[in-house]
Amino acid sequence: MFENLSDRLGGVLRGLRNRGRLTAADVEEVLAEVRTALLEADVNVSVVRDVIDEIRQNSVGATASNALNPGQQVIKIVNDQLVAMLGGETLKITYAGQPPTVVLMAGLQGSGKTTSAAKLAGWFKSQGRQPLLVGADLQRPAAVEQLRVLGAQLNVPVFSQPGDPVATAKLGLAEAKRIGRDVLIVDTAGRLAIDAEMMHQVKEISRAIQPKFTFLVVDAMTGQDAVTVAQAFDSTLSIDGVIMSKLDGDARGGAALSVKHVLGKPIAFASTGEKLDAFEQFHPDRMASRILGMGDMLTLIEQAEKVFEKEKAEAAAAKMLEGEFTLEDFLEQLQQLKKMGSLQGVIGMMPGVPKEMKNAEIPDDQLKRTEAIIFSMTPQERAKPELINGSRRVRISKGSGTTVADVNRLVKQFGEMKKMIKQMGNKGGRGGKGSKVGGINDDLAAALGSRLGPR
């Protein structure tokens, strides 16, 4: 939908190539594009201004390194800046000397408090703690019931009582002490930051239970208003950290940067899926590339994880690197690829792919034609495409309803691909980098790296 930063910068940077140094004018041109990218990612207008100022200071006169072209260099500066702004001080979860450690959840309606409360309980459980969930959202019909169901799935007890939310929270605290639970997580009703009465109520709850941690749950899809909301909740409750919810969506998530920047409070957790264990500590680096639109790589990898059969992929990869990859394997890969959705979608998500290719119309039935060509080959031909002579070509084209030229093209390009990948395998072995492809390779490495690092 929106262009990622490297595509966006493409036009500007073409003029910059082969220059050793970024001039002030270059930087301004580039910054205009960065600004648009950040705004499209829903970073707050005021925050964008601050970010751009910082980047400007860091970029002028920056000497081009040998390893990076100006484009990559700018992206790196921007990316580093965002990582620095998103990260910094992290929230260290400590436990109260006298249990229970009380956690209060707050946020707007529909931001994902109840689900996040349950996921957080699951996280504490994985840390060896014994949480108790308290349903103090007595507003939304069946909110408590939802918490009970989630609690049952996690095998975490849930306490609630009809009536007054403040009293319920207090009784929940007493209950935790009585049954000896060492973490108490209190879910509250969603409320608008401008609703004085409701904000007063949550303050009362906070006063009654004296939370050690107060988390604000922020929907990753939130737009410009995230800042206003965060400030309002912070001034009422003094937020300790933020939980970003719905990060499994395709929102760029600029709200994370906005909230972090204006509150100066860490983003503690990220909720990344519908399952209760899809909840993890926040990674600033991943978020930065996502805001810049470079994070689609991660989505792509995640989708691949879902549809790819591990053993098959492993076998194919090994074969390929040894140069023994056959059309049969290729066919199998194509069929797995089909499961990932439309080809246009897959290509669209890849950073560094030229625009002509992204905009090219790729009817999905073309995939079928390619399959048909391979289906029309004998097993021997699939294993050794060099067997395919003139008469075989005619037979294959007839069998697949294509032309001889189509068959030729497929066989020829398959050969080229094989050769190249084999070369790359060798290079990889010696620690070299695919120089031809510039940023693409690096992006992939970065994307994989950021997933590998924190685990």
């Binding site: 707007l108 007595l138 069946a142 408590v144 049952a152 095998n155 410009q224 264990d277 073309q366 390779n441």
Partner: protein
């Protein structure tokens, strides 16, 4: 991946098979990635029972009923406030005696702050720049009026009425879709109550079989408004719940089926396929799908456009419901949705009570954007 870079320059000349080879190489590289990362999603979390361990026996009766006195601000009241307190940037713009670069920056900023997005903001301001260049407009106040007129003009061309076909011998079906937490179930509750007041018989079908207790939530609304209610098993097939709902409504000659669906993120292919199926099944039975309403939370930023595109692709959305506009968010993304994708905004949610779901009014909305 490198294969892709290698082949890409030649793509324009050669055609499709190139891409497939490139993609195959890509898939293999991903294969390696998957192996390296070695993190395969584990099997589904098992569907837990409903037993709870601690606490009060039932929650439902305890909930505070939503029928509170309607004290929440209406759009009009917000506008009264609007005239007293224009948003910072606009206020500054209006104090200037002439239109300068700063004026444009301030207008742009106020539109961006309202979540219109960069492209839409540019599109809205473009015609005004011409007016100013030709000296048709010379003062900031006039420019502001011209801006509002331009925006109203861009909005005003669609029918916003909820489609209900009286001549049908079978029920009208309104399908409600959207991302998690946008307010679908609440919208159905309010919509059902309003339709009951209009004298129509209503059946609510709890097609959200995923979120824990979503059915209970809808049932509470159905009881409040005297609507029929159909639900399925937790984790069951939503299509079959909706099919059952339509069948029951047909048998009982009920006028309107309001079909709830589980919230889903639009980039989740499997769940979007499931939703397309719900739509197909609803089309197949008796009755007719006369509305597919996409519910969008006013706090939503630029992702709202993706939502509108993907949900339309899956279910042919006929209208947008903008919820939670009573907060500090302006909901400007729906302006982009209507003007770029042509999906009319039909309803606006302004608060918790049933009467707070109102017809969308373009004039009021545009005024409120600059509050």
């Amino acid at each position: 991946m490198p294969a892709l870079g290698f082949f890409a320059p030649r793509f324009a000349a050669e055609t499709a098979p190139t891409i497939f080879i490139a993609l195959a190489a890509l898939t293999i590289v991903f294969g390696i990635g998957v192996v390296v990362v070695g993190r395969r999603r584990s099997a589904k979390v098992k569907d837990g029972g409903f037993a709870t361990q601690v606490g009060a026996p039932t929650a439902a009766p305890a909930e505070k009923p939503a029928e509170q006195p309607a004290e929440k601000p209406s759009v009009r009241e917000r506008l009264v406030k609007a005239r007293l307190s224009l948003s910072g940037a606009i206020a500054t713009a209006l104090t200037r005696s002439s239109i300068t670069d700063s004026t444009w920056d301030e207008l742009e900023e106020s539109l961006l702050r309202a979540d219109l997005g960069v492209a839409t903001t540019t599109r809205v301001l473009q015609p005004l720049r011409k007016l100013v260049a030709s000296k048709t407009v010379t003062e900031p106040g006039e420019l502001m009026t011209a801006l509002k007129n331009e925006m109203r003009g861009q909005l005003g061309r669609v029918s916003r009425e909820l489609r209900f076909d009286d001549s049908l011998q079978a029920p009208n079906i309104w399908l409600v879709v959207g991302v998690n937490g946008s307010g679908k179930t609440t919208t159905i509750g309010k919509l059902g109550a309003q339709q009951r007041k209009l004298g129509r018989s209503v059946l609510m079908a709890a097609g959200d079989t995923f979120r824990a207790a979503a059915g209970d939530q809808l049932q509470t609304w159905a009881q409040r408004s005297g609507a029929e209610f159909v639900r399925g098993a937790q984790g069951g097939d939503p299509s079959s719940v909706i099919f059952d709902g339509i069948a029951r409504a047909t048998a009982r000659k009920i006028d309107l089926v309001l079909a709830d669906t589980a919230g889903r993120l639009q980039n989740n292919n499997n769940l979007m396929d499931e939703l397309s199926k719900v739509r197909r099944v609803a089309d197949k039975g008796e009755g007719e799908v006369t509305e597919v309403l996409l519910v969008i939370d006013a706090t939503t930023g630029q992702n709202g456009l993706n939502q509108a595109k993907q949900f339309s692709e899956a279910t042919q959305v006929t209208g947008v419901v903008l919820t939670k506009l009573d907060g500090s968010s302006k909901g400007g993304i729906v302006f982009a949705i209507e003007t770029e994708l042509g999906i009319p905004i039909k309803l606006v949610g302004l608060g918790e009570t049933i009467d707070d779901l109102v017809e969308f009014d373009a004039d009021e909305f545009v005024d409120a954007l600059f509050v």
